[in-house]
Amino acid sequence: MATAALDSHALAAHHYSSTGLDNKKIGIWAFIGSECLFFASLISTYLIYKGHSITGPYPHEACNPPACATPLKAILNIPVTSMSTFVLLMSSLFMVLAHSAVVRGDRKYSKIWLAGTALAGATFLGFQAFEFTSFVHEGLKITTNLFGSSFFVLTGFHGAHVTAGVIWLITLLFIDMKRGLGPRDAINVDICALYWHFVDVVWIAIFTLVYLIK
């Protein structure tokens, strides 16, 4: 009787569902599924409006008078975005290594890889801030044309997700430094990792559809 009570207490602490799977993990996968629909709607909007802007600047083509008051070059900076894409891809590698270190109970490397992931995420955001600033200086704002509206909404929402991920990673890093993350915390790092990788795969789609395909 006492053993059964202890078992039920332990199960309640771990929040397992009747499937034997952790509720948090089921929750994050359901959330990621809903996020697929959210980003699909934003990408659809971008693709539908692609090529329908009446005024420049345009993503891939130069804009000359009379369409633009002054000549404007193609606005997307592929080399810079390629670098930021590489940084985000590497952050996913750092994240799996952080999770692996937490599962092993390796406190030194869990801190290193969590910090590395957060730093890579912050670097990606720095690239995005640079890109947005340069676009505004070149005359592209959210209200300029259809491209500006759909581009800033899509990449802005992705950037907001990256920001949330960086905050989440810094929180985990803070907990790790305060009391240490061990195998018992692996599920909490795992759900953060799933969110982070999802943000990465969304960028994989955005990079191709927005930046590389004319």
């Binding site: 199960l11 499937t19 359901a30 599924g33 699909a40 390629s82 191709t208």
Partner: protein, 124 residues
């Protein structure tokens, strides 16, 4: 760098608990090791370099350019989901929770592009 779960190791985590109904709680299924993660990172980097490289080549004018990029992107997407998100190794329930909405999202995207692109052109 040591692997957390070496190939061939037991699928059941030391913390796993089997209840009276035979349901195992807290098990961590077999996850890839460091070598797999390293290869995945290398493959993702090579494909990304390939994507950017073909963007700057005359192949950009070829009609196979867009399908090639879409294939490369889909391959990268699937690789991250299968290996980094462990969907290849985890429970089928997670696969259903992700792939189901993803299919709906793809159908919605293609339908919207068809409605606003193809049909809009036909109707003027």
């Amino acid at each position: 760098m040591a692997a957390d779960h070496t190939p061939g190791a037991s699928d059941t985590h030391p913390d796993a608990h089997v209840d009276a109904h035979g349901v195992t709680h807290g098990e961590h299924p077999h996850h890839p090791d460091w070598a797999t993660y390293k290869w995945v990172a290398l493959i993702l980097t090579v494909i990304t370099v390939g994507e950017v490289w073909i963007y700057y080549t005359p192949f950009k004018e070829n009609r196979l350019f867009v399908p090639t990029l879409l294939f490369m992107s889909a391959f990268k997407f699937a690789t991250v989901v299968m290996f980094y998100m462990h969907l290849k190794y985890d429970s089928k329930i997670f696969r259903v929770l992700f792939v189901g909405p993803l299919i709906i999202a793809m159908i919605a995207l293609v339908s919207l592009l068809f409605l606003f692109g193809h049909l809009a052109l036909k109707t003027g």
